[in-house]
């Protein structure tokens, strides 16, 4: 079963990351579901370490783009340079041409540069000077953004946010975990010793296999009920799109596989829904002023929606 392989990846990450199992799990879910992750957190909590550990574990090419206000799209996707020897323009691929990409502080750069990355994420390919270049497979972006209240940021537009499968927060480790981090890091950072536990081909096979995880009609109905509720909720200005429902289903399949099941259960949905829905809905201004977060709304919706536990009447 694939389950063991996925477990070893998790185990690998945990060697490096302490007390971040949920983030690690969700990263693998996103990788399996061929989605991307938006990490919203302050610097220094281990985002980079997380992605590097994941990349090393799957033996993938890891690239990193540090977004700055003056970064240009060509710095991301690559540029054609005239080769005087051969009298031709030669394409020099940008950092987007890796397997696992850390897009750091994505909201620091201009919307133009942002969209160059996001378009690549969506299309799976980039076009430079009329030539289309396919991006590497698997292709997985983990973008981080500083909390948007910070000065000098370009918030990602809602339509762009939808491109991310999951949005999650890393959070600070607790005191005990932090102590453990210090202990481990003292001599040599353990990331250097990580060995790949799965090949890229195997990872791609897993990505294909995820599609075969059974999602019963009742589960689909449950997803639809939940998504529908977000559109009707009084605090919500813009509810979750059907793309959000699809994302939830795919993520649930990957999550089920990660837990050794070949079928999705309502628990998967309930676990994943805040990570998948929260960045896909816009609350009304009144609700924002009242301090209501999208996560609160989702929690209420889940509490109100009946879990399917009976077989459909024949």
């Amino acid at each position: 079963m694939y389950h063991e392989k996925l477990e070893t990846i998790l185990h690998n990450i945990e060697k490096v990351m302490i007390g971040k199992r949920t983030v690690a799990e969700l990263s693998i879910v996103s990788l399996l579901a061929q989605g991307h992750i938006l990490l919203e957190d302050v610097p220094g909590v281990g985002k980079t370490m997380m992605v590097r550990a994941l990349a090393k574990s799957v033996g993938a090419k890891f690239t990193r783009i540090q977004f700055t206000p003056d970064l240009l799209p060509s710095d991301v996707i690559g540029v054609s340079i005239y080769n005087p020897k051969e009298l031709t323009f030669q394409f020099r691929p940008g950092p987007i041409m890796g397997n696992i990409i850390l897009a750091d502080e994505i909201n620091r750069t201009s919307p133009k540069t942002q969209s160059s990355l996001l378009e690549g994420m969506e299309e799976g390919s980039v076009t430079v000077d009329g030539v289309t270049h396919r991006l590497a497979r698997p292709f997985f972006v983990m973008a981080t953004q500083n909390p948007i209240e910070y000065e000098g940021t370009y918030p990602l537009p809602e339509a762009q946010l939808d491109r991310f499968l999951l949005k999650l927060k890393m959070g600070y480790p607790n005191a005990k975990e932090e102590l453990e981090v210090l202990n481990r890091i003292q001599h040599s950072p353990p990331i250097e010793d990580l060995e790949p536990v799965i090949t890229l081909e195997e990872l791609q096979a897993l990505q294909k296999e995820v599609k075969n995880i059974v999602v019963d009609d009742k589960i689909k109905q449950y997803i639809v009920d939940l998504a529908g509720s977000t559109r009707e909720h009084p605090n919500v200005y813009l509810g979750v799109s059907p793309r959000g429902s699809i994302a939830l289903m795919k993520a649930a399949q990957a999550y089920a596989m990660l837990h050794g099941r070949d079928y999705v259960i309502p628990d998967d949905i309930q676990f994943l829904i805040p990570y998948i829905f929260s960045h896909r809905m816009i609350l009304k201004s009144e609700a924002k002023y009242d301090g209501i977060e999208p996560e609160d709304v989702i929690e209420r919706i889940v509490a109100r929606t009946r879990v399917p536990v009976q077989r459909v009447a024949k």
């Binding site: 019963d216 009742k218 589960i219 079928y263 259960i265 536990v309 009976q310 077989r311």
Partner: protein, 739 residues
């Protein structure tokens, strides 16, 4: 020694007192069934012994006390010398015991001395009290003893003169209290609970209420008659008639009816088979002289009478019959041959018989077959007869003897023994008081038995002793009996109000064996079908049969009345109306053994229902209380359904097979858990709920069950394979919810 006196001790004292009462119930019957006197010494000994156990007196001291008591009692009982002073009795005492021990070893038990017997009895009691003490204080279980106490008393009540009616009530009361308290003790011991007054209250009040309530209900409720007859008379007579009565009678036709009564056993011996069109009674003979003990003939039958041969008209006119009706035939094959013929009610002629003449006895109307001068026993004969029809109008018009008044021909059907008790006559007058014609009077008497709780019984029927009258005994004392009791009583009652009646013997219609295509049915008549009934004389009609015997059916009699009522609504039809008396009331009133068969059950419920109805109308307050109690009990049972429902469910799902069993059982489990108080909210997933449940019970079953259930509903696994492996887990878990 016991010195502390807490709640625990008080309960223990109560337990000892109650068990002493139970032990007492063992001693009570002894003076009645054996020659034991001075029982009080033994009772005191039992009490003393238990008391010593209660106070936890050192075994050496208590043993000494008891031994001393035994010796003193035996000395005072068997030696008339003072206890202290003269020492001779000691030697005699020991000698007597020693002698008896030797006799015991030699198995010469009849000659052991009374002193020795008493001593042994004391020892037995000593052992019993020790056992009781052990059960109470150590095992804290007493059910076996309780059960045996009940068995002991019921057996004595049944097989000895001892009357256990009150004993059983006492035993129930003491026993249930005892066991209830013991259970509390056991539970507190096992769970190491601290015993407090509040706890006792919580336990004792419902216990006392329940015991009191159920006892009152049991005592006040109407009780149906035992389904099984009292076996004692039967056993006694079976064993050779050491008891009262003339021994058990074998059923069947017999000529001597001069001493009726006593139990009889059923007899399946086939008498004859008949092929005919419809069910009917088969007549043999009539009797006219009631002696106070049974039946006889007023004139000695000399065998004379009108003779007829095969194919000739029969010189016998029981009643006026409709000449228009179609003649039907009945062919009879006899297994148990007699010299008489059984015949239907309106015979035309004998179509076939291997006899050259037959004689109708002028006194008894018995038809005897002759070959030459010799009586012969026919193995086969065939009747042509008509179905009898009696004019109801004519019968209703009858109020007196009419022309027969002067002839005196009917006097022999009116005679009664001189020493017939007056109360029989008074009863007859009372029964027929409201009726003005003979038919309605006869019907009133016929119905009297079924309406007044007379019981059909073949076993517990005594023979009247001394100068007791057979009918009087049945009507006023036993009120139970079989056809002879009922038919004889009806004849006597009718004669008491000057209606001529006689006693008829024969067979009922028997058991249907096969039904032929031509509409004829074959019936088998066995000795069990031997029967007696009543004929009443109406001047315009003749002899009309009546069937007073109850025991199996009063419904049939009611239908019978309704039929008549509808018929009387058409008064302007003068033609004779159909009334197939022998058939209509007959089907359930054969002399088949009581206690078996669906018919018996039906009337049993009928009787019970009647009993309940009269009870309710007589005791409105108590009935109301009982009603409220039932409703309360219903509510309580409903409220406590989570306690008993699992057992129902387990039983229900135990044998269930099929695809949906596991999902259904799982849903039932969810419901049961909700009843238990562990509710799953609608937004909770099964997995997290299962975790909660397992944490609550400290189990793992729910998670495993849920895992399989999830596979069925979220993965569409085939549910049929799951149940066998999951059933045990399921049962384990659902049983936990009863605690």
């Amino acid at each position: 020694m016991r010195t502390d006196f807490g709640w625990n001790t008080v309960t223990l004292l109560v337990l000892y007192v109650l068990s002493f009462f139970l032990l007492w119930e063992w001693l009570r019957p002894i003076d009645q069934i054996t020659d034991t006197d001075n029982l009080s010494f033994f009772i005191i000994f039992a009490g003393l012994s238990l008391l010593l156990y209660f106070f936890e007196v050192d075994w050496r001291i208590s043993g000494l006390i008891k031994l001393l008591y035994v010796v003193i009692v035996l000395q005072t009982l068997y030696f008339s010398v003072p206890f202290i002073g003269e020492g001779e009795w000691v030697a005699a005492f020991l000698a007597s015991v020693w002698e008896s021990v030797i006799l015991t070893v030699q198995q010469d038990w009849n000659n052991v001395s009374d002193l020795y017997r008493s001593l042994l009895f004391f020892i037995l009691l000593w052992l019993s009290t020790y056992l009781l003490h052990y059960w109470l204080a150590v095992r804290k279980q007493l059910f076996l003893f309780y059960l045996f106490t009940i068995v002991y008393v019921t057996l004595l009540d049944t097989f000895s003169p001892y009357d256990g009616t009150n004993a059983i009530i006492r035993i129930i009361l003491f026993g249930f209290l005892l066991m209830g308290l013991l259970t509390l003790q056991r539970v507190t011991d096992q769970e190491r609970l601290h015993q407090s007054a509040g706890q006792y209250q919580k336990w004792l009040i419902p216990l006392a209420l329940m015991v009191a309530f159920s006892s009152v209900i049991a005592y006040a409720a109407p009780k149906s008659e035992p389904i099984w007859p009292d076996p004692v008379p039967f056993l006694q007579s079976f064993a050779g008639g050491s008891g009262s009565g003339s021994g058990v009678n074998r059923l069947g036709y017999g000529e001597d009816d001069s001493s009726l009564g006593g139990p009889f056993v059923g007899d399946e011996t086939k008498v004859f088979e008949v092929v005919t069109n419809d069910e009917q009674y088969w007549r043999i003979e009539t009797k006219d002289l009631y002696t106070g003990k049974g039946w006889d003939q007023s004139q000695e039958s000399d065998g004379s009478g009108a003779a007829f041969a095969v194919g000739e008209d029969i010189p016998l006119n029981i009643s006026d019959i409709d000449e228009e009706s179609e003649p039907v035939t009945a062919s009879i094959e006899v297994d148990l041959t007699y010299n008489h013929l059984v015949y239907p009610y309106a015979p035309d002629q004998v179509l076939e018989a291997d006899a050259d003449r037959m004689v109708v006895d002028s006194i008894s109307e018995k038809i005897v077959s002759y070959q030459g001068e010799e009586e012969v026993e026919l193995e086969q004969y065939e009747w042509e007869f008509r179905e009898p029809r009696y004019s109801l109008q004519a019968m209703r018009d009858t109020t007196g003897l009419g022309d027969y008044e002067r002839t005196g021909d009917l006097q022999r059907y009116l005679q009664l023994p001189e020493n017939l008790p007056d109360r029989v006559r008074e009863l007859a007058v009372e029964i027929t008081e409201g009726e003005d014609n003979w038919y309605d009077k006869a019907s009133a008497v016929e119905d009297y038995f079924s309406r007044n709780g007379f019981v059909y019984d073949q076993f517990d029927v005594p023979v009247p002793s001394g100068d007791q009258d057979y009918v009087d005994q049945f009507l006023f004392e036993t009120q139970r009996g079989y056809c002879d009791n009922f038919s004889t009583s009806m004849v006597v009652l009718l004669r008491s109000v000057d209606i001529p009646a006689r006693w008829v013997k024969g067979y009922t219609q028997g058991e249907e064996i096969t039904r032929n295509e031509d509409g004829l049915t074959r019936y088998e008549i066995t000795n069990n079908n031997a029967h007696s009934w009543v004929e009443v004389f109406f001047p315009e009609v003749g002899w009309v049969p009546f069937e007073p015997t109850v025991g199996f059916s009063n419904n049939v009699s009611l239908n019978y009345d309704l039929d008549l009522d509808t018929e009387t609504e058409t008064p302007d039809t003068p033609e004779p109306q159909e009334q197939e008396t022998p058939e209509t009331p007959a089907p359930l009133e054969e002399d088949t053994p009581a206690g078996g068969g669906p018919a018996g059950d039906g009337s049993l419920f009928g009787n019970m229902w009647d009993g309940i109805k009269t009870f309710v109308s007589e005791n409105r307050f108590i009935s109301g209380l009982i009603g409220v109690a039932f409703i309360l009990a219903g509510v309580i049972i409903y409220r406590l359904r989570f306690r008993w429902m699992p057992y129902v469910l387990i039983y229900y799902y135990k044998s269930k097979r099929g695809d949906d069993v596991y999902p259904d059982a799982y849903s039932a489990l969810l419901k049961q858990l909700r009843r238990y108080g562990l509710k799953r909210s609608d937004n909770q997933t099964l997995r997290s709920y299962a975790k909660e449940i397992d944490e609550f019970f400290g189990s793992r079953e729910m998670s495993r069950l849920t895992d399989e259930y999830e596979r069925i509903i979220y993965r569409k696994d085939d549910p049929s394979a799951k149940w066998p492996e999951m059933r045990e887990l399921w049962e384990d878990l659902i049983k936990r919810t009863t605690g």
